[in-house]
Every structure is written in structure tokens, then in C-alpha cells.
């Protein structure tokens, strides 16, 4: 599989001193789903906004299909946006409350020059695909349920046949049963259209369910990246192990992390996780460890992690 989106060495520090994203590198391949998990405040959403070109990184580069997004001018970026879409987090605010469902989707079609006469049928086809009816196209957002709203947001994101959709906590606000429906819908759509997803969530169970590969973030950094199965079966980073142990119903020994998430404005020295890490040592206070490959397509950033060559 070839890389569709490649982020290298992204950094973003906000004006209040919060280092939201630190040295983040990610790759999304064509047609795959990359899950990004982490606690709230770990920089997942900021990373998503940088990848969408909505926020400029302080340093680092994002290439989409070989072209650098931060280097693009406004016209190039607008043209690219047909191929790079977003499903926002909160169903209550992801659609404009004063536009009907039809107008919200037509807005995107119009932005990419779809003729007026063509827009109506396209909207109905998209709604039908996400399981909504033609009658619902004239509704306003307050007349729809949370699950229906996210279906509309998905239809809107898919309206211009994108190559990549960033789903930022797209199902987090939904009930478990509705979550499953929306996740299955996303999986079906990916199967049909070959669209790639960057799936941001704090819920490891959700991410594991939908993702091909998963990146785990902590305090603005990627601490482990692996295929979903590898991560589930053989987590390397102590933070990933702790996250997995907190996922109910699989008989792992529960690892309880102590202490609060450190402030991203004032992170601890060395490895940011050492203040809560059950296996922290003195050496961890030195420097944040780099991502070390532990197996093909599996890397973790921890001093306890060894590359296969050294372990034999």
C-alpha cells in the first residue's frame, strides 16, 4: 500500500505555552484506517486539524499524495479539500443549525463546482447511502437525533468523493448501540469507495474495532504505533498496556494509573509518562525516548522496548 498522507515531525505550541503536538509523525495509507487514541488533551484533535490544513504547524510537514499541504496557496488548498474531508466530533454542532440537511450537503457540492441541477439527486443518493430518507433532507438539525446527525455529517464528508476523511471523535457522543451502527456504516463505505479514514478517539475499543493500524498518543507525542491486532495482542509501551487493561471484558490484569495527566504546558522532564508509569526508572527522567521499531510495522517509544535484533 502506498502512503496517501504523510506527516513528519509536526510541532504545534499554542500561545498559552501548551505544546499540543510534539514531533508527531504519522502515515495513512490509501484505503486504510489509522486510529489515533489518547486521553483528552493529548493533541489528537490538534493533529487532526493540522492534517486537514485548518491549522498551520509550527514546524514539520504534511504531504498529501506527495504534495506538501503547509506549502500550498489558498487556491491549491481549496482544490485539495475535495479529497480531504472531516466528520466533526459533536453531532449537535457539526451541522449549521440554520441550514437544512440538504443545504448543508449542497454547500460542499457547490464548493467544488457541481452544477445546481445535479446537486439535488446527488444529495438524495448520499443520504440514501447513509441510511436516511428523502423526507429527512428538508429537516433542520434540531429535528434529527445524534446518530442521524452524524450520518448527515458522514454524507457531507463523502459528497466530493474524498480519498481521506478525518473522523474526529465522530462516534464518541453517541450511544453504544448507535456507535456500532455508525462504525459499521463507515466500514461499509470504506469497502465500497476505498476511502481512507483517520479515526481519532479516546475509546480504544472503538478504534480497535475499525482500524487497520493504531497510533497511541500521550502528551502530544506518538508513544506507540502498530497494526490493530499487534497492539491488542502484544502492546509494548506501558501506557498502551494500561489503556488496554482499562478496556472492559477481556480478562486482562487491570493496571491502575496513579496521578493526574501532567499539564501539556508544563510537562515532566524526560519521558512524559514517567510520572504515572508503573515501570519508570531513573533513566526515564533523561530524555523522551524515540520511537523504536520492535517488529515490522510496530514501533514504541519506551526505554524498556528493545528492537528484535538485540533481544534475539
Amino acid at each position: 500500500m502506498s502512503a496517501l498522507l504523510e506527516a513528519t515531525g509536526l510541532n504545534k505550541t499554542f500561545g498559552n505555552g501548551v505544546r499540543a503536538v510534539a514531533d508527531v509523525s504519522l502515515t495513512v495509507n490509501r484505503g486504510e484506517t489509522l486510529g489515533v487514541v489518547g486521553e483528552s488533551g493529548c493533541g489528537k484533535s490538534t493533529t487532526g486539524k493540522i492534517l486537514l490544513g485548518l491549522l498551520a504547524p509550527d514546524s514539520g510537514d504534511v504531504t498529501f499524495d506527495g504534495e506538501s499541504i503547509p506549502a500550498m496557496n489558498r487556491t491549491q488548498l481549496r482544490a485539495l479539500r475535495a479529497r480531504l474531508q472531516v466528520v466533526p466530533q459533536n453531532p449537535q454542532t457539526s451541522l449549521n443549525p440554520r441550514l437544512t440537511v440538504r443545504s448543508s450537503i449542497e454547500f460542499n457540492l457547490r464548493a467544488h463546482g457541481v452544477a445546481r441541477a445535479e446537486r439535488g439527486p446527488r444529495v438524495l443518493a448520499l443520504l440514501d447511502r447513509v441510511g436516511l430518507t428523502a423526507a429527512q433532507s428538508e429537516r433542520f438539525p434540531h429535528e434529527l437525533s445524534g446518530g442521524q446527525l452524524q450520518r448527515v455529517a458522514i454524507a457531507r464528508a463523502l459528497s466530493t468523493s474524498p480519498d481521506l476523511v478525518v473522523c474526529d471523535e465522530a462516534v464518541s457522543a453517541l450511544d453504544k448501540s448507535v456507535q456500532a451502527q455508525v462504525l459499521n456504516l463507515l466500514a461499509d463505505l470504506q469497502h465500497e469507495t476505498g476511502v481512507a479514514f483517520l479515526f481519532i478517539s479516546h475509546d480504544l475499543a472503538v478504534v480497535e474495532h475499525i482500524s487497520d493500524r493504531v497510533a497511541v498518543m500521550y502528551l502530544g507525542r506518538v508513544v506507540e504505533v502498530a497494526s490493530a491486532e499487534r497492539l491488542w495482542d502484544a502492546p509494548q509501551h506501558p501506557y498502551t498496556t494500561a489503556l488496554l487493561s482499562a478496556t472492559p471484558g477481556q480478562g486482562r490484569e487491570r493496571i491502575v494509573l496513579h496521578g493526574e495527566l501532567p499539564s501539556p504546558a508544563d510537562p515532566p522532564s524526560g519521558c512524559g509518562f514517567r510520572t504515572r508509569c508503573p515501570v519508570a526508572e531513573d533513566v526515564c527522567a533523561g530524555e523522551w525516548p524515540a520511537l523504536i521499531p520492535v517488529a515490522p510495522a510496530h514501533a514504541a517509544a519506551c526505554v524498556h522496548v528493545k528492537t528484535p535484533a538485540t533481544t534475539g
Binding site: 454542532t93 449549521n96 464548493a111 430518507t133 437525533s145 457531507r156
Partner: protein
């Protein structure tokens, strides 16, 4: 969270389900708003056809001056020069309405454009627009209107221009505040990520949200504008005598406050009725423009 529970059924075919009654029911204004709409309609009608139906508002008979309300032939009495007050009220409707509506319409269009632009612009664009408008707040609005009108010279058109200028900053503030409130919401991110031009985002995503508060605010300004225009006329900067205009009539009649106390009240009541009617109509329009009004009711 009934809304979320409802979503579990969304995967089932819903085509058979009847559309909920809330969607198709026609939105309606309250009784008071409909009465206000009637009064505004009447005022507009009087402004258009009224002057053709009453006698010459400037024809005065010195022998029949300061007649009380209810005198035969002069239903609202006569003023200090013996002119029929009813004819002057009717004739003055046109200018007073003009002085109330035109500056507000201008301010609504220009103020909204400036406010939305400032709200969507970057740091420097926002600062330069809003700080420039802040200059207008350094002066009391009435004084500024007087200064502008005096600089342009007297006349109804100049006083309308002066009023339009002083009404722009507050309208821009309302539009800017609303635009900034939207800027962080998810759907604005989605709109930016859609690839639409900034003009399309401003007109199709932002404007539908900004318009209702601006409309409500502007209807409140109409009454104010009529009163300001009256003030300018009083100072000799707006309409000049003997032209009939409500504000000018108030100041004209004030000198008879001891001999004919109700005389000044008649045009004042006309101003009051017009501004209250526009205000109540504004509230009604807000309900009508709000797609969620029924959900809230």
C-alpha cells in the same frame, strides 16, 4: 436523551413513517407581533396614500389657532398657527418613516458586512475594522450625528446620511459578536474544510446565523432613528419648517405646553406608536426567523 434513543431506529427503513408534525407546520407569529405588523402596515399605507387624502398641511388660519382635540373639522385640533394637526401628522408620516427606515436599512447592510468581515478576518483585519469603528464610540452618538449633519448642511437627505453613519458601528458590533461566537463551532471547521470560498462561507453559513439578531436589533433602531431625526430637525439640521415632520412638530408644539398641553403629546404619541410597533414586530420576526422556535416553545 430521547434524541439519542431515537437514533437506534434510524437504521430501520423510515420511509413509511409519517413526517413529524413539527416540520411541516407553518411557523406563526404571536398575536402581539401580528398586531404590530398591522400597525406598521397601516403606517406605511398612510405614508404612501395619506398625503393625497388630507387637506394642505400648511394651510393655517390664525383665527382658529390652538383648537382642542375633537373640534369639528379638526379632529386633532389645530396648532399655534391654526394648521390642522391631523393633516400634518398624516403628511409627516412619510418623512418620519423615511428618517426611521433609510438610515437603519443602510446601517443593517453596511454594519453586517463589516461585522461579518471582521469576525472572519484574521487578527489584523479584525483589529483594523473594529478599532476604526470604536472611534465612533468616542463621541456620544447624538453629538456625532449633529456634527456630521452640520458639516453636510441642513436638509432631510443630509440628516439621513448622518444617522446612517452613526448607526453602523452598533450594528457591526452585533454582527461581529455573533460571527465570532460561530467561529469555533464544528460546522465552521467543516465549512472551511469543504473548500468553499470565504465569500460562500460568509454568505451561506454565517449570514443565516447572523441575520436574526441583526434584524431584531435593527427594528429597535428604527424607533431610535425616528427620534434622532426629530432631534436634528429640532436643531434646524434636518427638515426645515414649514414642512410637516413628527419630530419637528413635537419641538414646535412644546412652546404651547402650558396653553395646550396635549398638543405636543399628539406627534409624540405617533413617534411612540411607530417605534413600539417596529420593536414588537422585530421580536415577532426573530421568532419567525428562528428555525428552532417551535422546539423551544
Amino acid at each position: 436523551m430521547t434524541a439519542t434513543i431515537d437514533a437506534t431506529t434510524s437504521a430501520l427503513p423510515e420511509s413509511a413513517a409519517p413526517p413529524t408534525t413539527t416540520t411541516r407546520r407553518r411557523r406563526r407569529m404571536t398575536v402581539s407581533a401580528r398586531i404590530a405588523a398591522g400597525v406598521v402596515g397601516l403606517i406605511v399605507l398612510v405614508a404612501i396614500v395619506g398625503p393625497f387624502l388630507v387637506g394642505d398641511p400648511n394651510a393655517g388660519d390664525a383665527a382658529r389657532r390652538l383648537l382642542p382635540v375633537g373640534t369639528a373639522g379638526h379632529i386633532l385640533g389645530t396648532d399655534g398657527q391654526g394648521r390642522d394637526v391631523f393633516a400634518r401628522i398624516v403628511d409627516g408620516t412619510r418623512l418620519s418613516l423615511l428618517a426611521g427606515l433609510v438610515p437603519v436599512l443602510f446601517a443593517a447592510v453596511v454594519g453586517t458586512a463589516l461585522g461579518v468581515t471582521a469576525g472572519l478576518a484574521g487578527k489584523w483585519g479584525h483589529r483594523s475594522i473594529m478599532r476604526t469603528l470604536d472611534v465612533f464610540y468616542a463621541f456620544p452618538a447624538v453629538l456625532l450625528a449633529i456634527a456630521i449633519a452640520a458639516a453636510l448642511g441642513s436638509g432631510i437627505s443630509n440628516s439621513i446620511i448622518a444617522l446612517a453613519v452613526i448607526l453602523v458601528p452598533p450594528v457591526a458590533r452585533v454582527a461581529e459578536t455573533e460571527t465570532r461566537r460561530l467561529a469555533d463551532l464544528d460546522y465552521m471547521d467543516a465549512a472551511r474544510a469543504s473548500g468553499a470560498s470565504r465569500l460562500a462561507i460568509a454568505t451561506r453559513q454565517v449570514l443565516p446565523n447572523v441575520a436574526p439578531p441583526v434584524v431584531v436589533y435593527c427594528t429597535a433602531l428604527i424607533g431610535l432613528s425616528i427620534v434622532y431625526a426629530a432631534g436634528l430637525s429640532f436643531l434646524g439640521l434636518g427638515v426645515s419648517p414649514p414642512t410637516a415632520e413628527w419630530g419637528l412638530m413635537v419641538s414646535d408644539h412644546t412652546q404651547y405646553i402650558y396653553t395646550a398641553p396635549f398638543l405636543a403629546a399628539i406627534p409624540a404619541i405617533a413617534i411612540l406608536v411607530a417605534s413600539v410597533a417596529f420593536n414588537v414586530l422585530g421580536d415577532g420576526l426573530r421568532d419567525l426567523l428562528d428555525v428552532r422556535s417551535e422546539a423551544r416553545a
